[in-house]
């Protein structure tokens, strides 16, 4: 019972060390944002993100989740910037007071493709990496175990919390409180929902911190981990190579004056 989107397909991408995937994702994001031309994003998409998605066997889930996130943004982006981009001069279509400019569409294309890369790369990481493994890997590299605890614990709490909230919401509706009406009315409905939810949360906190302390959470010892995180020398090398290549890709065009 967890609230993450992780799907275990057992692919080679799933078996990679979480740090390798994290570094790769960061490199992709830095490249598409540092080289502000639309075809760089397109190229990264074609040669890096899509092949990895295919290998990971998560392609369908990836497209479904990403489409839900991206479609509204992309539609608004193209409509709004196509019509109202401040730098827009070249009119493509005019329709009454509305004018679509090519500068606006070009601007939207640049931003849109970058967002596609950003969303696909990060959703791919989350789909193929168990959050527990990611936390273990980061803690092993010196991240405070408190971060790992908070993130893992929250991920497991959210479903329980949502159930509790839904139960209260249903109870409110059963008592005839409609969730329709003016905003003020709807906020009034929210308050009796929040009260029990938060009071319940507080009574639990004392218990939870006691239980954690009893298991040495306050200990200053260097943490160990029961489950080892898989790694290989190839991956260790690649975690240095990927940032180096990215840096070169970003710096060389500037140095040679190509951009």
């Amino acid at each position: 019972m967890s609230s993450t989107v992780y799907v275990d397909r057992g692919s080679p991408v799933h078996r990679l060390n979480p740090m390798t995937k994290l570094v790769a994702m960061l490199c992709v994001i830095v490249i598409v944002f540092a080289l502000p031309v639309w075809w760089v994003s397109g190229l990264v998409l074609a040669v890096a993100i899509i092949p990895v998605a295919v290998i990971s066997r998560c392609g369908r889930t990836l497209s479904r989740i990403s489409a839900t996130i991206l479609l509204p943004i992309l539609v608004v982006l193209f409509v709004v910037q196509g019509l109202t981009f401040p730098g827009g001069k070249t009119a493509l279509v005019s329709w009454g007071v509305f004018t679509v400019t090519s500068e606006g569409l070009h601007f939207a294309l640049g931003i849109g493709l970058r967002l596609v890369c950003l969303v696909l790369a990060s959703v791919l990481l989350v789909l193929t990496t168990h959050p527990g493994d990611l936390m273990s890997a980061l803690t092993a590299r010196g991240m405070s175990p408190k971060f790992g605890y908070i993130i893992s614990s929250t991920l497991q709490l959210i479903p329980a919390f949502r159930d509790r909230a839904n139960a209260i919401l249903l109870a409110q509706q059963a008592r005839g409180l409609s969730v329709k009406g003016s905003p003020l009315r709807r906020i009034k409905i929210m308050m009796p929902l929040l009260g029990p939810l938060i009071l319940g949360m507080f009574t639990d906190v004392e218990d939870r911190s006691t239980a954690m302390e009893a298991r040495g959470f306050g200990s200053t010892a260097r943490r160990t981990s029961l489950v080892p995180v898989p790694d290989s020398s190839v991956q260790r090398v690649s975690r240095w190579v990927m940032p180096a290549v990215s840096l070169a890709v970003i710096v060389v065009p500037f140095a040679t004056g190509a951009l």
Binding site: M1, G132, S152, D207, R208, T210, A214, G218, R222, L226
Partner: protein, 283 residues
């Protein structure tokens, strides 16, 4: 093994103390039950034994608490918890959530104390075998029943090998099946050398499992001794603790003029049967 001498405690800003002059001494490997009405200060006493008071809650603590002859007074909490384990009422709140399987949940404390992986694996397997948790090890602790979750909480403590384990009403939020699971663990722990202090309301089960009982009332320990003697004590009603159904039945019978010659009221099934046997023989 765990010994309290003249312990008094008041919460910060409190007008009067919760506990006054509490003394008790529980031997190695013993299973000691502590009875007390709600509000008698059971949770406070449990947290004092486990080193959480005054480390977390502050307040004024006087007297001494010692485990295996060593004072707990000046230990930082992280040290204290490696001597005395603590299991609390609500099983759900004890799941750290930091890990995803029962196996990792049990190992969480060992990870915090930096125990090396091979030793960690050995200890987790050992505890899982002791408490019969084998089939649950790869499941999520959130999917378990309350009783199973409480077993995992107990296992998470035992795996740390603290010489003393304090349980603060571990069955108060469990169904009868879960309650039985927890008390079965007490039988399992007998003979391992772990000293168990259990705060409980379930008198008949305590009578079966405890070596000694203590009564916490009026801010102090007012009675201590053999479970049979304590449970037969007429003052239990004054302390708002009640009595077992066998004692209640015998008392009701006496009220109606039966069992007039009975000196010691029965506190368990066996003793009740014995009373019937005696009575039958007398006739």
């Amino acid at each position: 093994m765990i010994r309290l001498d003249g312990v008094s405690y008041a919460y910060p800003d409190a007008v009067r103390p919760v506990l006054e002059n509490v003394s008790l001494d529980i031997g190695r490997g013993a299973i000691a039950g502590i009875l007390g009405a709600s509000g008698a200060g059971k949770t406070t006493l449990a947290k004092i034994m486990a080193g959480f008071i005054p480390a977390v809650d502050g307040g004024e603590l006087s007297g001494t608490v010692s485990v295996d002859g060593q004072g707990m007074g000046d230990l930082p909490l992280a040290e204290a918890v490696s001597r005395v384990g603590l299991v609390i009422q609500n099983p759900f709140n004890q799941i750290s959530g930091a890990r995803y399987t029962v196996r990792e949940e049990i190992a969480f404390g060992l990870e915090n104390f930096g125990v090396a992986r091979p030793e960690m694996q050995g200890r987790v397997d050992e505890v899982a075998e002791l408490l019969n948790l084998g089939p649950l090890l790869d499941r999520s602790p959130y999917e378990l029943s309350g009783g199973q979750q409480q077993l995992v909480a107990i296992a998470s403590m035992i795996v740390l090998r603290t010489p003393v384990l304090v349980m603060d009403e571990p069955t108060s939020q469990l169904d009868p099946a879960g309650t039985r699971m927890v008390f079965d663990v007490l039988s399992t722990l007998r003979g391992t050398g772990i000293t168990v202090v259990i705060f409980e309301h379930k008198l008949e089960l305590l009578h079966q499992h405890a070596d000694a009982l203590y009564v916490l009332a009026d801010r102090s320990i007012v009675a201590a001794g053999d479970p049979t003697d304590i449970l037969a004590d007429a003052r239990l009603a004054e302390w708002h603790i009640g009595s077992t159904r066998y004692t209640r039945a015998a008392r009701a019978a006496q009220d109606r003029g039966l069992l007039a010659g009975l000196q010691h009221l029965p506190v368990s099934l066996e003793q009740a049967v014995a009373v019937f046997a005696d009575d039958g023989g007398a006739r």
